[in-house]
Amino acid sequence: MTATATPPTAAESPRAYQRLGDRVFSKSALIAGSLILVILAAVAIFLVAQSLPALVADPNDFIGRPDSFWAYVWPLVFGTLWSASLALLMALPLAIGIALFISHFAPRRLAQALGYIIDLLAAVPSVVYGLWGIGVLAPAVQPLYTWLTENLGWIPLFAPPASGTGRTILTAAIVLGVMILPVMTAICREVFLQTPVLHEEAALALGATRWEMIRMAVLPFGRPGIVSGAMLGLGRALGETMAVAMVLSPAAVVSFAVLQSRNPSTIAANIALSFPESYGVNVNLLIATGLVLFVITLIVNSIARWVVNRRKDFSGAN
């Protein structure tokens, strides 16, 4: 290494010639990158500024006269998290299954057709899902709910009495699950397709069956993608407004029973339903619940990041 000359210092190194195209491109990329921070900051500032009056106001001014701001917002937070987790719990295994079928089991033609259909599902507006939830799903599952409360009512989840309309938080969660299915499936499919053939062959050459190969090579490799897909889906389920607002008849309760007629509403649905009739400090109250939702999604995303980064060395990206 003695032959290496000392590196030129910054002062004497010749300045690289700056081409116009490079400069324009780098500046516009910088502006685009900064813009997202500005927008995020603008939203956060609006939320905080508009929430403050509600946080310091007398709870007696709020609609329904809750004991405090937190007493008002807690059932909504619970409903939001509960419905979104139920939706994720139902949709994620299904999404992984569909994605695996498309990427590793289906014949190419069928896989392509299925891929298009999944993408199409993602394009259906949420209000249509809401209508489907009220008009088709709720009446269809109502007899099942009755059966569940009668036979499995001892499980707290299925505690009686069953709702007569079928419009419960479980129905809302099913609708949410159907809504978040396409985006999760699409992301899982993409990462599964990117599993290096080398790793798949390594597993097969060791005498792995197809399923063992998937467990050994495809799923571990796709794990960060699965987590990101789940978080995107969860994010959408947390913030979804119309489908929940249409399906649920809300009540300010905190209850894990999913088949009863009294169900907690979600933050987003509550804002949509209450905003038109709100005045004065109640508007600030609703915006404050929006701030809470903002914070919840932030926390959820941070947890996902942490989960993905925890085993970075083993990710297969190096």
Binding site: H199, A202, L204, A205, A217, F314, G316, N318
Partner: protein, 259 residues
């Protein structure tokens, strides 16, 4: 452990395309057999038929027989999964599982099929396999690190350790050194020399010196032209192939005159 392989009148097809035509040869146990020949001559395809890995590609099938100690790998009711547990394979590019630690990589094949193994047995097997692949001393302090943290040559030896951990009858190596530097290549070649005591080894290589250094017998494959199937031209002791081959094409190829 090692077994004799007899190939009889083997044709390999990818759909309608015939990739390899009419190969018959016998591979002795506890020996190293090298397959040489120009790119696209079907030697990689052929080596993959010895553990049915060619079936990973849709539409691939064979005609003829591959007998391992008299049992036809392509007999009715033979499960390719079980074939691959007997006939291990090492690939051109090192492919340890990046999501697993070094120790888990070694145990990957052993844990298949829900076989249970006690912690102490597992530790012994990891050490034995890594010793067998001449890798133990380099990695014994970091068995819980990911396999991808090793150098290319170490990764390839890890793959060999993974293959021998399941105690196969035969080990197939498809250009195992083509992505490695000369020092790592030498380490692998020394290892092949040692593995020969216990296993039947088949190796595909583009490196003539490597074939002459490591193998007992050499098979030369070639194709007549693009779109034609690959054929086995000559199969003999390595010393004969490299000094006094009976076919002109072989002599041209090993001496570098091949067009």
């Amino acid at each position: 452990m090692s077994k004799r392989i007899e190939v009889r009148d083997l044709n390999v097809y990818y759909g309608k395309f015939k990739a390899v035509e009419d190969v018959s040869l016998t591979i002795e146990p506890r020996s190293v057999t090298a397959f040489i020949g120009p790119s696209g001559c079907g030697k990689s395809t052929f080596i993959r038929t010895l553990n049915r890995m060619h079936e990973v590609i849709p539409g691939a099938y064979v005609e003829g027989e591959v007998l391992v100690d008299g049992d036809n790998l392509y007999g009715a009711g033979i499960d390719p999964v079980l074939v691959r547990r007997q006939v291990g394979m090492v690939f051109q590019r090192p492919n340890p599982f990046p999501t697993m630690s070094i120790a888990d990589n070694v145990l990957a094949g052993v844990k298949l099929n829900n076989r249970r193994i006690s912690k102490s047995d597992a530790d012994d097997l990891v050490e034995k396999s890594l010793q067998g692949a001449n890798l133990w001393n380099e990695v014994k302090d970091r068995l819980d690190r990911p396999g991808s943290s090793l150098s290319g040559g170490q990764q390839q030896r890890l793959c060999i350790a993974r293959a021998i951990a399941v105690e196969p009858e035969v080990i197939l190596m498809d250009e195992p050194c083509s992505a490695l530097d000369p020092i790592s290549t030498l380490a692998i070649e020394d290892l092949i020399e040692e593995l020969k005591r216990d296993y039947t080894i088949v190796i595909v290589t583009h490196n003539m010196q490597q074939a002459s250094r490591v193998s007992d017998k050499t098979a030369f494959f070639t194709i007549a032209g693009t779109g034609m199937p690959g054929t086995l031209i000559e199969y003999d002791d390595t010393s004969v192939i490299f000094s006094n081959p009976s076919v002109k094409a072989t002599e041209d190829y090993v001496s570098g005159k091949f067009g």
